[in-house]
Every structure is written in C-alpha cells, then in structure tokens.
Symmetry: C2
Subunit: 484 residues, 2 copies
C-alpha cells in the first residue's frame, strides 16, 4: 500500500471540500459540549504513579471507552498488570488505517500549594487579552490533547454517520510512570494494533500561530538513588564530624555528575551518541530558535548545559542528566539537629539516538560505586527507561498532514524535535515498524508536569479542526486509488 | 562565700547521714508515682519548633508550675515573645543557692513511621535482660532528666518539709529551637535568676556504671539555605541541560563544604579555634574512649571527620559542619520528570571555644556567594546560634557533686565533653558569671532527637537519688560554716 503523491498535491474536490466544511462547522457549533466532556475527563484524578489512584485510572479508562462507543467505535477496556488500556476500532473497507495513541494518566500534582485551584476541578480562565485557558492537571498533557482527536471523530460521525478512513485508538494509563505494563500488553494484543501510521498528539505547536510535527524524541532513563550511612538518625552534636552524613555523600555524588563546562561527567556517557543528519540540522536552523526568549520565559538568562552546543541542541539532540528530586533528614519547620540515616534522589537521563538505556544505566551505577566512601550502602532502583526515537521526515503521510495543517493554520508547519520522551514511539517502531506522526497543539507555556497546568481553548478548538482536516486529507486519495 | 574543703572530704555526720537515708528511701518507695508524673508530662506534645504546638508548650509549662507549687515552691509561668518560661524559688536563710535549669520542649518526631508507638504515648519496655526503658519523645531529652531533680526535691520535702539548701528552678520551652526569646526574657527577669551555681541535667552518663560531669559544650550555628533558579518547576524533557537545576547547585555547594581529608573547607573556618588546655586533654585521655565501639553502635566503622584528630576530639573539641536536612523537587512515590524551581537545605555548624557564631556565619555566606552560578538566587535564613562554653573543672561545687556521685554510684565520676550545645550554659556564664554544673543521667543510646527516644528507668531512679545526695552534700557544711 502506498499513498499516491498527486492525491495530496492537488486541492480537494469540491464535494469533499463542502463535506469538510460541514464537519468543521459541526465541530465549531459543538465546542461547548466538547469542552463539557473534557471537564468531565479532567475531574478524574488518574495519577498513575500513585497506588491510591488505581480506581481513578480505571474510571478514566471506562469513561473513555464509553465515549468511543458513543461515536460508533468498537471500544473496550483491557486489564493489564498495571493500569488498564483502552482499545477501539472503527474500520473502513478502503483508505489507510491510522492508529491514534494517547494516555489518560497524569502527573502527580505536588506541590499542591502552588496551584491556584484544585488541580482536579478544571477552571476556565479568561485573560484580559481574550485568551481563554483550561486550567487543570492533564488539561494539556494529555487529556485535552487526546480529546482533540476524539472530538474530531465525533464531528465526522455526526455529519456523515462514519469516519473517512479506518481509525483505531489506543490509550494507555501509565505513560507518566514509565509504562511498566506496556511490553506485556503489546505481547498479548500487539497484532491488533498494527496500522499504516500512528498518530499522536502529545506534542507542541512551534508557536501560537505555527503548527509543528515532532520528528525526534529523547529517550529516558530514570533512577532512584538511596544512600544509607548510620543505622538510625543521629544527634548532630553527639556525632557531628565523626559520623558519615548521607546527604553530604549524595551531594558530592550529584556534584560529580556535571563537569565545569556543563557536560555530563559520567565516563563514556557520550560514547554512542549519533549526531542528527545534515538535512535535519538544516531544518532546525531554519527555525531561528530564540534561545534567550526560551530561557527568559521561565526566569533564566543563561544556559546551564554543555557550552559547545546551542540551546536548541542541548534540549533536543544532546543527552542530559537531571536531578528531579532530593530528600533527606529534616525539612519541616524550624530546625532539627540530626545527621540522618538516609538520603535519596531521583535522577533521570534524557537519551538521544545511539544511546542504549541499559549501557547508560551500567555506566551510572559504576560511577556511583566508584564514589561511595566507607560506611555507605547505596540502593539504586530503576524507575523505567526508553530509547530515543526518530520519525521519518519525508513520508507521504507527513506531507498529507502538513497540507491539512496549512489549510487550517494558513502557514507552513515546521519539523521540530522534543527534549521529552514519548516511549511508545520507539516501542511501536521497533516492534511493528510502525512509524509515528506526532502532531500536538500544546503551547510551550502549558506548564506540563507543573502547577497550574493549562491548555488554551484555542489549542483545543483548532486541534479538533486540524484533525478533522487531517482525516479528510488522508482519505482524499480514495477516489483515485483503492489502495489508499 | 566559699565551700570549705573539709566539709566534702569527710563523711557526713551521723544525723545527716540518717536523714539522707530516709530521703533516699522515700524516693525509692515513691518511684511509681514519680514515673506516673513523668508519663503525664511526656503526654504533652510540646514540640517548640512547630507553631501548631504552642498550646501544648503552654500546657507543659503550666503542668510544671503546678508540680513545683505542690512541693512548696513559689512557682510561676512567665510569658515571653515565644513559649513561656517557668520560674520557681524555694529559698533558705543559709547554705548555697542553686539554680536548676531544664527545658520542657522537645524535638519534632519525624520520621513518624520509624517509631514503634505514638511518640507521645509513653511506653514502659522491659527487656529480656531486665532493663526497663521509658520510650517517648522527651523521655530523656529533657523531660525525664529534669524530673529527676524535681522528684529529688519532692523526696526532701516529703521527709523534712523543706529543702536542705536554697533552690531556684528555671525551665524554658525553646531549647530545641535555638531559644529565640531567651535574651529578652533574661533582660527582664535575669537578676531573679542569679545564684551561686547553675545545675543542669541535660547531659549523659559516661557509661551505664560511671556518672559524668560535662565540662565543655560546642556552640551551634544553624542556617537554612534556599536556592531558586527558574521561576517555576520545568519539564525536564523540555528544559533538560539548558535550565539551571537548583538541586545540582545546592549539591555542589554542599560538596564544597568538606575537604578530601574530612575537614570543613570554608576559608578561615578554623582561624579562631582555641585548643583545650593540657589538663583537660589529659583528663580526656584517661577516659580510654572506645572510638570503634562508639561508631559500631550506630552501624559505622570509620570516622568521616578530619583525620588529624581522634574521634573524641572530632566530636568534642573540633568544630563541625552538618547537613541536617535537604529537600527539592519531587520525592514522593514513582517519578516526576521535573527540574524544580527551588531546593533547600538546613545546614548547621558545631562551634568550639574561640569561634564567634557571627564571624562563622559571615564566612559561610561568603562561601555561598562565591559559588552561585548565573540565574541562581539564594536566601539564607539564620535559625539560631550560640557560642561554645567551658565549665571550671576545679570548683568546690564540682568536688562536692563528685563526692555525692561516688556515694551513689560506688565509683569516681569522670569529666567529659559534649559535642552538643546547651546554649544556656554560655549565656548564664557571660551574663551573670554563673558557672554551670551539668550532671545528667542519660545513656549514649537514648536516641535523643531520633525515633524511639528512651530513658532507662534506672537512669530516672538513680538520677533522683543522685540529686538527693548532691543536695545533701551541698548543704553538709551548714553546721560548720554559716557561709555555705
């Protein structure tokens, strides 16, 4: 099966165009009910890493399946060893078959006191400039984004009674927790998820006006390091100087992870890094990325990374090591003069093509072992890993999507990278040779993983419209090619 | 006024001795009611550093005042700008006048999950070897210890209707929080606290069989350091490498505080340190301190401090820098891939004679300033400080106390140091020239400031008996010298 080039280059036939206009109008007219459904979805606190939230993850999966059945999908909740997966199909005889991927789970909400309102009581915040934002945990990552596709299907169904091409959907509930059950689930149900292309929406616009297709993702290795010295907390007067302090040991370890120039200082860390190709490098240069603005937006003025690389390279094409959390001893009100028994940190690595998570993990462990003084025991717990991935930047599906995006946004879309990780992209690529087409409508200021996460109402609305157009473009060849 | 040497060298006169035996027997016969009172005291969660515990601090002070009135003291609760102080007097026409100091406040109980039972529901734990332990927050530090003196006075009162010498008592409620209201209180009420000698009980036995008088204390400087980088938490994928990570910065700062040899690496930190005198050094050598056992008891095998000094010197006569707590980013279940906005640590310094807390603070702040990279703001908050102090090791009061301790324990007491800080000792010395006589009955395994804090029933009982004897010894000169 191959998409014929000419089916994308020409404008749509008049009948198709009129039908498309009706579907878009339907979505416009129904934006309030769409928003109402999103709010219902956001009220479910499906924090996948919190064992107490298991029932809520189940609830989110069931809610999604019901919504999909409502628009004609054959949808079901599949139990896994972790949180359930939702799988849904609505197949056509002709046209390409797309698999849409998303995740219904969300990040934890801590620090709760930094939120202006309950993270699970979504608010519509209207700004003086007229922008309207949906504020809630998951508003953007990924509930709001995934619903853009579901609502696009709903509009097609409302107007035409069906969908223009075959669509399957696949929603997991462990994306924010390293997807521990994914492998086992794919072993059992993987064949069912085969398709021509995987669409996903867990990515960003380039800016408010320019849509983007994300063609590379960094991988992730996340480790928890716990250092134990004395067998109990000690009085810092009685033992101060003599007793090894695990916070001191952990701090020295963390200090050793970065060199003076900002580079990661683990031996052999960069050994297998594959630099991006020249074509992609030149695409990235065309972006005229404003590094100063990127940093200034979050209150920073200088990059902390390896000075031999641009800021865009640092966050997209260079691997990283970050301390995501640290805790040890007393950190409540006032003082408590102890030498604690334990200290721990969550340390993660963003990986780039060529780097193998297992090899990096081994090098990290060796780095730790070489630095432990006497009387320290160290426990390192793996919290998940995934390889980096690259999306082909020259496929017919991609050209098709770019044409649709141009129709909606009135400008050319751009190809970008992502410093973040969407593990499913590399997993589906290596398992089924299934390439991804990641098109997201989140803005860079959406505060993913942070307090007051938000999704702009315009992202939600134009996201729905964009998917309606992409589905139309993907189906537009059906009159000229039975293979499409 | 001077104590005549011979009044201590000779045994007590027969009448005094018989009276003393009756007082000791009274204490023995009433150990259960004494314990009952201690339990009542321990049930009050008077955590001074927790603003929510203010009413409980007030309650502990009131309870103490009532107990003291019950044994004939003129006792009152004095309000301060912080937690109240209890002052009580019962004066005689002749004999020396002692001021007993203690504190009714306790350390926080975190980590609560490490306690075998509610920290404020005291338990009597009988061990297979017959030892009985009182387990609760404050059991030893300082509620159990201070009650040994109160109960000793009660026994004297029960048998004789009065006390053998003039006694004042002074209990504060902010010892575990750096005594922020102490200065102001002493300015107002200080004259009332003048006495010939200050007794205190917030110290340790040398070992289970050998009592000790503590003749030196380290001072304390406690600082809270907060580092802020970006103005909000960031997604570690989107910003990893480029955004300055405050945990990394804090870790590098902490790493810089100790040198390779275990010494504190702040410039000029040791400049003003006064080494202890030769006489005291030789007293310390006589102790035959078992450094290996000291470390092994808490699961350690090697000292982490400056190798140029013995372990005993490291914890008693050398200054120290300890990280008491650290926190930043996410440290709950699972993972959260953020670069946090802030990280903070509680860092304290144990100081020795010669070191001025203000000077050390200035050097520490300069050390921090010199190490802050771009885009970091640092806030350092002082949480309290006190100078080190030394107790004269050749006073008549000390000889008197040693004689009494020998009577009770059947062995010579020893002179020791303390790595901890009892700020009141240096304060009363510098304000009123009032020397201290610190005699405590805690064991080194009492888990002060830690979960499952305990006080041995034998410490409590023999502590009461020791104070009964010390009061007798201090009064024993009254028949031969009206000045005593």
């Amino acid at each position: 099966m191959a998409l014929k080039k000419q089916s994308f280059a020409a404008d749509l036939p008049e009948a198709k165009r009129l039908l498309l206009e009706r579907v878009l109008s339907c979505a416009d007219a129904n934006i309030e009910p769409s928003l109402h459904r999103l709010f219902r979805f956001l009220r479910i606190p499906s924090v996948s890493c919190d064992p107490l939230c298991s029932p809520q993850c189940q609830e989110a999966a069931s809610w999604l399946a019901t919504e999909l059945e409502d628009i004609g999908f054959d949808a079901s909740v599949r139990q896994t060893t972790g949180h359930p997966v939702v799988v849904a199909h609505r197949k056509q005889v002709i046209g390409p078959h797309v698999l849409f991927y998303g995740h219904y789970d969300v990040q934890p909400v801590e620090p709760l006191d930094k939120w202006d309102a309950d993270p699970f009581d979504p608010q519509l915040k209207v700004h003086p400039n007229g922008d309207t934002q949906i504020v809630a945990r998951g508003a953007s990552d990924d509930k709001g984004q995934l619903l853009t596709f579901v609502e696009a299907c709903r509009a097609w169904k409302t107007v035409t009674g069906g969908l223009p091409i075959s669509v399957s959907m696949f929603f997991e509930g462990e994306e924010e927790s390293g997807s521990p059950s994914m492998d086992e689930f794919l072993n059992q149900a993987g064949g069912e998820l085969r398709a021509d292309i995987m669409l996903l929406c867990d990515t960003y616009l380039w800016n408010d006006a320019v849509p983007a297709i994300t063609v590379m993702f960094r991988g992730l290795l996340e480790e928890e390091v716990e250092i134990t010295c004395a067998k109990r907390d000690l009085h810092s007067g009685a033992y101060g100087n003599a007793a090894r302090n695990p916070i001191q040991v952990l701090a020295e370890l963390i200090g050793s992870l970065r060199g003076q120039g900002g580079e990661v200082a683990i031996e052999g860390f960069y050994d297998d890094v594959k630099e991006p190709g020249e074509e992609l490098k030149s695409e990235l240069k065309k972006l005229h990325f404003d590094a100063d603005k990127f940093l200034q937006t979050v209150g920073l003025s200088q990059s902390a990374g390896d000075r031999a690389y641009s800021v865009l390279e640092q966050v997209w094409t260079r691997p990283s090591c970050e301390i995501n959390g640290i805790a040890g001893g007393y950190h409540g009100e006032g003082l408590k003069t102890i030498i604690p028994s334990k200290a721990h940190a969550k340390i993660s690595f963003r990986l780039v093509p060529g780097q193998d998570p297992e090899k990096i993990q081994a090098k990290f462990h060796e780095h730790i072992r070489a630095r432990m003084p006497a009387d320290c025991s160290v426990k390192v717990t793996g919290l998940g890993s995934s390889k980096a991935s690259v999306v082909p930047s020259n496929s017919e599906y991609l050209r098709c999507a770019r044409a649709a995006l141009k129709d909606e946004w009135n400008c050319e879309s751009v190809l970008i990278g992502s410093g973040g990780s969407i593990p499913i992209v590399s997993v589906m690529q290596s398992r089924f040779g299934l390439n991804a087409l990641p098109i997201g409508f989140a803005r860079s200021d959406n505060r993913h993983h942070s307090p007051n996460e938000k999704y702009d109402l315009s992202s939600f609305h134009k996201g729905i419209r964009s998917w309606i157009r992409i589905l139309a473009r993907l189906s537009s060849g059906e009159s000229t090619s039975s293979e499409l």
